[in-house]
C-alpha cells in the first residue's frame, strides 16, 4: 500500500476520539455535545475502515456503514430532544437540565 502505514491512520482515529471525548465532557451546550459525539463516532469509523484495509475484509466497511446509520438515527432523536427542550423555554445547558436526580 502506498502512503503511511495503518498505524498512522489509527493514531488519527485515536486523536479524533480523544478530541470528541474532550468536547463531550467540557462543553455545556447540548448541540455541541452532540457534535462532539459525532466526532467520536467518526474516529471509531476511521479505525474500522483502517482495520478493514489491513485485513482485506469488507466486514469492517459494513460495520462502518451500520455505525453511520445508527449515528444518523441518534442525531435525529437527539436533535428532536433539543428542539423539544427549547420549545419548553428551558435553558440549553446540560448542567441545568438535571431533573433526573436522586
Amino acid at each position: 500500500m502506498q502512503g503511511p502505514d495503518i498505524a498512522w491512520y489509527l493514531a488519527v482515529a485515536a486523536f479524533l476520539f480523544a478530541t470528541g471525548a474532550l468536547g463531550v465532557l467540557l462543553r455545556r451546550s447540548p448541540l455541541i455535545v452532540l457534535l462532539s459525539l459525532e466526532i467520536m463516532l467518526n474516529g471509531g469509523n476511521l479505525a474500522l475502515i483502517a482495520f478493514s484495509r489491513l485485513h482485506g475484509e469488507s466486514s469492517g466497511q459494513i460495520f462502518a456503514l451500520a455505525v453511520m446509520a445508527v449515528a444518523a438515527a441518534e442525531v435525529v432523536v437527539g436533535l428532536g430532544l433539543i428542539v423539544a427542550i427549547a420549545q419548553r423555554k428551558l435553558d440549553l445547558d446540560v448542567d441545568k437540565l438535571s431533573f433526573l436526580r436522586g
Binding site: 463531550v24 465532557l25 455545556r28 446540560v94 448542567d95 437540565l97 438535571s98 433526573l100 436526580r101 436522586g102
Partner: protein, 626 residues
Amino acid sequence: MIIAAWICLVTPLAAALLLTLLGNSASRRAAGYIATTAVFGSFIAAVVVFAKLWSEAPADRSHASTAWEWLTAGSFHVGLRILVDPLSVFMMLVVSGIGFLIVAYSIGYMDGENEERRYFAYMALFVFSMLLLVQAGNLVILLAGWGLVGLSSYLLIGFWHDRPPAVAAAKKAFIMNAIGDATMALAFFLLIQDGQSLNFPDMFAVGPGHGWLVNLVALGLLGGAVAKSAQIPLQTWLPDAMEGPTPVSALIHAATMVTAGVYLIVRTHAVFEQAPRVLELAAGLGAATLLMAALIALVQTDIKKVIAYSTMSQIGYMFVAAGLGAYGNAMFHLMTHAFFKALLFLAAGLVIHALAGEQDIRKMGGVGRVMPFTRTAFLIGSLALVGVPPFAGFFSKDEIIAAALSRGWYGDILFAVALIGAFLTGVYAFRLYLIVFPGKPSPFVEEHVHEHSHEGPFSMTSTVAVLTVLSVIGGLIQFEPLWGPVSSWLDPVAPPLAVPSSTQDALASLFAVLLGLAGIGVAWMIYGAKRWHVPTLAFSRRLLEHKFYFDEAYNFAFYRPAVALAKGLDRWFEKPVIGGSIKEIASGFREAGLDTSRIQTGLVRTYALVIAASLAVITIVFVAVR
C-alpha cells in the same frame, strides 16, 4: 359393629365440618337441627354397638380397630385406634345420649343468638372430641381427645367473646387444663421410655423393680384427671366456666367433660393399682374436694355457681370411688349424675331464659308459682342429687359410701367425709330450691314471667322432661346387692378392689339417707319455714365466699411473678436489644440508601466523566493483562 363405632365417632365431626363450611348459608335453625340430628345418629350408632356387644360373651367383649398407623419410631407404634369394650360403650351411650338431649335443648335456648351456627358447630365438635376420648384405643388418641375437649370447652366458655369475663374464664379453664395435659404427657413419655405399649388393653405390666416409675406415671395421669375434673388443687376454673351458655355448662361441665378424669382413672386402673399410694391420694383429693365444694355451695348466690360447686362435689365422690377401687360404682354414679345434673342445669336454664338472663337467686323467689313444670323438674333433680330413694342418686351414691366402709381405716375416714358431704348436699341443694321456687313470686319475677305463660319452647321442655324421667328411674338399673347389671357389665374391664358386704351396704344407705334428709330438714328450717337464722360466723363466711382463697393464692404464687417476669423482660431485653437492633438495622439501611442516592446528581457531564475515566482504567487493565 366396628363400623357402627366409627360412625358414632365420625358423625358429629362431619356435622361440625358441615356447619363450618356452610357458614352463613345455613339458617340458624337448620344449624341446630343438623347438630342435633348428627348427635342423635351418633347415639343410635352407640346403641347398635351396645346391642351387638351385649350379645357376645363377656370374655370376648373387646374389639379394637386401627384406621391407620400414625406414628412409627423403631418399636414404638401409634395408630388411630378405637376400642370397643364395655367401658367405652358405656361412656359412648352416656355422652351421645345426654349430648343429644342437651343439643336439642339448645335449639330453643340459643334461639335468636347471633352466632348460633358457631355454637352448634362447637357443640358438635365437642361431642366428637368426647367420643374420641372415650373410644380411644391407646393413650395417644386419648390425649388427642383430651386436648380437643379442652379446646371445645375453651371455645364454648368464651362463646360470648365480647364479654371480658367470659374470655378470661375461657383462658383460665384452658390454662389449668393445660397443666394437666402436661403432666399426662410426661407420664406417657415415661411409659414410652420404659418400652410400654400405649395401647389398651395390652396394659401396663410394669415390673416390680420399677416402683418409682409407675408412681410417677400414675401421678402424671392423676394430674391430668384432677385438672380435667376440677378437683383440688386445679379446681378454680370450674365456677368461672359458668360464663358460658347454660347448655354448655350442662353438657361439658356437668355431664361429660369433667367426668373424663374419672374415666381416665378407671381405664388406666392397671397402672394405678401398681401405685396404691397414688390411688389413695386420688381418693383423698376427691374427699377433700367433696367437702370443700359442698361448703362453698352454701353461700353462693348465682344459681349456676351453686350447681357448679355441686358438680365439683359429686365428682369428688366419683374420685373417692375410683380411688378405692370401686370402679363400677364410680361409673354408675357418673351416669346417674349425668342425668340429674344435666336436669338441674337445664331446668335452671329454663328459669334463666324466662327471667331474661338473670342468674342471681336473691332476685328470684316464687318462680314455682309461675313455672310449675320447671319447679317439678328441679325438685326431682334436687332429690336425686341428695340421694333420696327411689331417685337416681340414691342407688349410686350409697354404693360409693358403702365401698368406703369396706376398705380399712382410711376407708373409714372417707366414709365419714362422704356422710358429712351427704348432709351438706341436702342443705345446699334445698337451700337453692327453697330460695328460688316456692312462695310468692318476687317483684323481679313478676316483671318477667306471667302466670300461665308457657315455660319455654318445646325443645327445651321436652328434653327437660326426658331427663326428669331418667332421674327418676335411671337409678333403678342397679341396686346392690340385689341386682347389679352395671357392675357385671363393667367388671371384666375394671375388676373392683372394694366389694362391700350387704351389711355395709345397708349401713351406708341408712346413714346416707338419714343425713340427707336431715340436711333437707335444716334447709327447710332456715329457708322454707324461716324459723332458724343462718348462723353468722364472719370468718367462715368470708372463707367460703372467697372459695377458700384458692384464687388469691394462685394469683399471688403464679400470676404475679409471671407478669413481673414478662414486664421485666419486655423492658430490659425486648425493647432495647431486639427492638433496638431492628430499628438500627432499618435506619442503617435508610442511611445507606440516602447516601448512595447522592451519586445521582442529574448532571450529564459528571456521568460522562465517570464513563470516560472508567474506560481509561479498563483499557489499562486489559492491556496489562494481555
